[in-house]
Subunit: 191 residues, 4 copies
């Protein structure tokens, strides 16, 4: 007989993260989540309204953590956009390394509940987009469709993390992504 226990909520979330990251939404049974979390099946319904909401909470969770990390890294809405972009990329990669499950989950809601992008997700996208726009305004960047580019970046990170060789280190990956984004494959591009 306890009060709703925040720690237990975390345990459920963690278990769900692992499972949802491995298999698509419908292949994960709530019973497994419960078992993995070491709680009863019914307990999940105390902390979450249903399977779908658990999933959504998980994605939200990921983005919230990510945004928190971005904040910690002092990505400012002023100053060099290039520096800000680098910081964001570094944070994204770091996040993917630290929470591979969450990262994998956030890949998309493909297979999961409706693509009603979570608030946090769109926050991230917006942050990216604004950074890009700022770069454009400041004549650091040139991009006719920053909204598209913003959309691409998370998937770009994800790809490397997911399929890249295990030997990749965080720093190397980050550097490569930065380079790729900043100058593309262009041979002439000046640093």
């Amino acid at each position: 007989m306890q009060k709703p226990n925040e720690q237990k909520r975390r345990r459920i979330l963690a278990a769900a993260a692992g499972l949802f990251a491995e298999r698509p939404f419908h292949d994960v049974r709530l019973e497994e989540v419960a078992a993995q979390a070491g709680v009863g099946k019914g307990t999940i319904y105390i902390y979450f309204p249903g399977k779908e909401e658990l999933y959504l909470a998980l994605v939200d969770e990921g983005f919230t953590q990510l945004v928190a990390q971005l904040s910690e890294r002092h990505i400012q809405a002023q100053g060099s956009a290039r520096a800000a972009l680098r910081a964001i990329l570094a944070a994204l990669v770091h996040f993917a390394v630290e929470f591979p499950h969450l990262a994998e989950l956030m890949r998309s809601n493909a297979g999961g509940p409706g693509t009603r992008s979570s608030k946090a997700r769109s926050e991230l996208t917006q942050m990216l987009e604004e950074t890009l726009r700022r770069g454009i305004r400041r004549r650091e960047f040139s991009d006719p469709h920053p909204e598209l580019t913003a959309l691409c970046i998370p998937g770009l990170v994800r790809s490397v993390m997911l399929f890249g060789p295990r030997t990749l280190d965080e720093r190397g990956v980050t550097r490569h992504l930065v380079r790729l984004l900043e100058r593309g494959l262009n041979r002439e591009a000046a640093r």
Copy 2:
């Protein structure tokens, strides 16, 4: 007496493609596929061993088409690497439009590793990597880690397709990706 009709197989595949493109695997009922294909529920089982295999066949089909498209578009191991890259991107985008939910299945271990689809995936990555390397040799591109870049590209495409606004058209996306990859955000980059 009628023979197992390759054309009917195509009809089922086409119906399945449409449905699986709209909704994830578990949300598509075989009955719908049958109705859409204009055949009876049982007929599907004449042409495919089960739901999973139908989906797998679809993916296979998709990859086959992808490879076919890449071939058709004269992505040769000679000539401009830039042109080759553009052709590959166009094919990828086209493919992503046709099979938006493909990624989910490719991750499910249905069929296990070494499945045709995963083989196809690495083939695709290799084709990308080689194109990049050729570009570098030909001094069209500059990239210290073409193997990483090759890994990124499919995810890049996928991101836009998944999260991009519905209004995006295939051509526009392709053009944007080409631009991004070729010159990055670099303002000075010459065309």
Copy 3:
């Protein structure tokens, strides 16, 4: 393009006998029967109205053959009832040896279509019962319920055939059954 072919009908019957003898009615698919018989699935419906009727025809077939054998052995409705009973038993055993599948099938309609005993089956039972009654009239036998005994005899034969050691020979089994029926386990019984 042929006329209904009696030989083909036999092939189907033979295939069905083998299959129905091995597995219960519902576990045998008509497709298997067709394959085993080397005919098309639809062909069965030319010779039989349906699965149930095929099964019934099979049982009938068995009893018909059995009765035919009994006739051949000149089991008369006159003279020694004991001799008649022996002849019947010998015929039953012989039949079980020669057509194990049919014999097995006739074990019962358990699992098969309604126990509406076929005409042939009741003929056999009647023949047995009449022989017993004759024996009683002739003061050869003593049995307060010949109708029950008649019912028992086929099952008795079947048991030995089915579960008895493979090494059993027809003659030995027959002799044993005759002895058992005629004098039971009674030690004092005179021959």
Copy 4:
């Protein structure tokens, strides 16, 4: 919270027994069993892995009961063999009344050979054979092939139960079988 209830398991088993006794395996729907047992369809799957296993459990149950009955009825390895044989017959008949469709399942290779049921069968046969041998030693019986006779008896019981008129009562059948086995058709046989 309720625990997996042994009593509920019994209810399901009882319902299944009733239904499987009336109709063969494939003609009994699990939904009926559930309804009859007063539980939900899914509940069955809490107590049994599937339909087949439910049936198998039933057979097991039956054999266990059979053995239990044989024990209760003091079929000892000592004392009158005649009394022992009568007790066994009575138990067999009783069992046959309760599980008329049991034979079919025992023949299906569901569960494969060496299943508990076939072990139980040979145990039963052995018990019969030993009883017969004891009777012979004690000069109660005379039988040159008790192993054959032992094999016959279950089939004998089964025959009457399956084909005998519905009006037969357990006691009458038992009495008849006892009589038949003990003195056969011999008119002179003394009691």
